[in-house]
Amino acid sequence: MAPPRKKPSKPRKSPKNPKRTEPKHDSSDESEEEMPPQQLELGDDGADSDSASELSSDGDDPLADDFLQGSDDEEKASGSDSGSGSGSDSDDDDIEKKSRAIDEEKAREEEDAEAEMQLNINQESDEFRLPTKEELEEETLRPPDLTNLQRRIKEIVRVLSNFKALRQEGSTRKDYVEQLKKDISTYYGYNEFLIGALVEMFPVVELMELIEAFEKPRPVCLRTNTLKTRRRDLADVLINRGVNLDPLSKWSKVGLVVYDSQVPIGATPEYMAGFYMLQSASSFLPVMALAPQEKERVVDMAAAPGGKTTYIAALMKNTGIIFANEMKVPRLKSLTANLHRLGVSNTVVCNYDGKELPKVLGVNAVDRVLLDAPCSGTGVISKDESVKTSKSLEDIQKCAHVQKELILAAIDMVDANSKSGGYVVYSTCSIMVAENEAVIDYALKKRDVKLVPCGLDFGRPGFIRFREQRFHPSLEKTRRFYPHVHNMDGFFVAKLKKMSSSKPGAKPSETAEEEETTTSVKEKEKSTDGIKENGNVSSEPESKKMKKRKFPSKPSNGLKEKGKESSESEPKKRMKRQFPSKEEISKAREEKRNALREKKRKGSKKQQKQK
C-alpha cells in the first residue's frame, strides 16, 4: 500500500543512507553479512518511505523507524530472497569457479606434458655425454654391461663421424677415441696394443666394419686340382654328394666356395683321391701373382701345409722343379702327404731355415721364389681368436725382423737374368704395416729390385705413407685385402722383379756392414795389386761405388800415390765414421810422401854415384 518498494531516485537516497547506515552499523554487528545488502535495500526502501512520507518522516522518527523496521521484516524477507538469490548466484559462481579450475588444471597438465616431451626430446637428441671418471670406476667394479657398452660404442662412432656438430663441450677427439678403444677391447676382447694399431690404420666407421668382420668366419673354399680333374666335373660330383657350392669369383678359375654340406667336405673320396684341396681364398692370391711357367725352377720358402706349393705345381703341370722348404719338422709330414695326395711329382721337400736356403740351393739359381712369410697373423683373427690378446709390439717387431732376413735371402736366390722369371712374391696374412710395407721398403733399399704390378686388381693398394713413415712411391703396386671389403682373410701381396745381383749397401746395418767389409776386402786386394801393377782402373770404379762423396780429388803425382790413396782411403772410409782421424791420415800421408821423395833422391843419388 505504501509505496515503500518504490525505488526513489538516487539523489534522495544518498543523504539519508549514511544516517541510516551508521546507527544500523552500530546496532548490528553480528549479522553484518545480511545487513549490508539489506541495508542498501533498506536504504532504498527507506528512501522510498522517506520519499513517500516526506511530510511525516521529518516529524516522527520513531514512526519512521517502526515503519522501517516493519519494512525491515519485509526487507529481511526480500533480503533473504535476494540472499538466496545471491546464494544461487554464488552457487553459479562456484560452478563457474570449478569449471575454471578444471580448465586451468587441464591447461597446466598440458603444459607439463609438453614440457616433459620437450625435455625427453632434448634428452634423446642431446649430445652423447662421455662417462665421467666416477662412472668409469663404478663400471670397473661391476661386471661389464654388454648392451651398455655396445650402445656407447655406437654413440661414439656417431659422434666421431660428425664431430663438429655432435661433440660435447670440453672433450677432445682424443678423449672420444680413447673411450672407444677401451670399450672395444672390453666388448670384443682385444688387447690394448692391437686395438691401438687398428685405430691408427682405419677411419672409425671402417674400423667397426673390420672388427665385426673379424668376429665371423670366412666361407670355406676349395681349389680344384687341375692335375687330376676340372672344376666343372668336380663341382658336379660334389653336388651329387650333397655339397652346396658355387664358383669362387671371376678372378679364379679353379676356386669353389662351399656354403654348406651334408658330408664332411674334408673327407669325401674325392678329397682323398686328391681332386681338390681345402684352402682359403686369400691363399690363391700369391700364387696367382707369382704366375709360374712350365719348366721353371721355383722355390717355396715356407711351404707347409702345401696348399700354395700344390697350386704352383698344378700351374706348372708337373714340369720343372719345385723346392718346397719348411723349417718346422712336424709340419713336414702334412706337406709331403698333401704333395703325394694331389699327385705332384716334381717337388723336392727340404727342411731348412729359410735364411740358409741361398747357401744350399745356390745364389742366382732359380727363376721364381714365393715367400709366404711367417707373420703375426693379425689378418686371420676370424680363424684364431687368440691373436686378439697375444700379440704385442715386440712380437710384431720380431716377425718383421725375421721377414726382412727372409726376403733378402729370397731375392738372393733368384736369377736376375732368368729367361722367363726373376720374380719374388712376398705375402703375409697380416695387416700390420710393420710386417708388410716396411719389409718391402727395406728390400727395395737393400737390393736391386723393383716392384711390379701383381695382377690382382681387385685389392686395395698398399700404403705409401703411414704415420711418420714414408715409403717408396712404387709401393702402391702392392695389394692389401681385408675381410670387410673382399670377404677374404686379411692379406698382403707384393711382387718384386730382380734387376741385377748388385747390392747397393747405402745404409749401415748388420748385413750392410758385412757387405762393405767384404767388398772393401776385395778392394784392398785389388788396390794392393794396383800398387804393384799400376792397374788402378779396376779399383777406381769400386771405390767410386763405395764412397760417393769421398773419392779423393787431390791431384795425384804418381800412380804409386794413387794406389796408396785408394788403400789409404779404405782406412779413411772405414774411419769415415770417426772424423778426428782425418788429420792423422793427412799427416801420415805427408810423412809417406816425404819418405818417398827421400827414397827417390837417394835412389837417384845412388844412380848418380854409380855413374
Binding site: 660330383v237 674334408g266 673327407a267 673320396p269 674325392e270 682323398m272 683321391a273 686328391g274 681332386f275 719348366k295 721353371e296 725352377r297 708337373n318 714340369t319 720343372g320 722343379i321 723346392f323 719348411e326 713336414l332 709330414k333 702334412s334 706337406l335 709331403t336 702327404a337 704333395l339 703325394h340 695326395r341 699327385g343 711329382s345 716334381n346 717337388t347 723336392v348 721337400v349 727340404c350 727342411n351 731348412y352 744350399v360 740351393l361 745356390g362
Partner: protein
Amino acid sequence: MRPLDEKETSAVFEKLFKFVGNNLKNIVENPSHEGPDSNPGRYCFRLHKNRVFYASESLVKRATNVARPNLASLGTCIGKYTHGGSFHLTVQALNLLAANAKHKVWLKPQSEMSFLYGNHVLKSALGRITDNISAGDGVVVFSMADVPLGFGVAAKSTQDCRKLDPNGIVVLHQADVGEYLRMEDEL
C-alpha cells in the same frame, strides 16, 4: 740319398711287377719333362732313409744340393723298407700304379667308404672286375667313376669270385687313399 743296389732293385721291381706286369717298362722308361732341357730325361729310383723315391733325373741332380738330414721327400715316394728288410708299397705309389695297372677292380658306390676305412673288398662290393686275375696278383681298386681308391692283393681268381658267396673276400686290402686322413703320420 743313394741309388738302389741289386737286391733292393729286384725287390722293388718284383712288387711292381705284381701290379703292372709288363708295363714295368713304361714306368722305368717314362720320359720326364721336368727338367729345364727340352730333351726328356728318365726316371730313376733312389733310396733315402728307408724310403724308395721315384723321380726324374733332373730332379735328382738338383736334390743332391740338399743335405741328408734335411731332405724330406723327393718326387714320389713309392714304398718303404721295414725293419725286417722287406719292401712294401705305400699308398703314395697309387698314381703310378693306377696309370699302368693290369688288374683292376671297380667298387659299387655304397661300398667305397668301407674300403676307404681299411677293410677288405667283399664280393658284394664288386661292381666290375677284369678277367684273368689269378690269386696273389696285385689289384688296383677303383670306384665306378674311375677314381683310384687303393690297391691290394687278389684273394681269389676271377672265376672263383663268381662262385663265391657275397661275404667272401675278393681283394685283400694293402693301401687306400683314406690313409691320408687316418694315418698321415705314418706315411
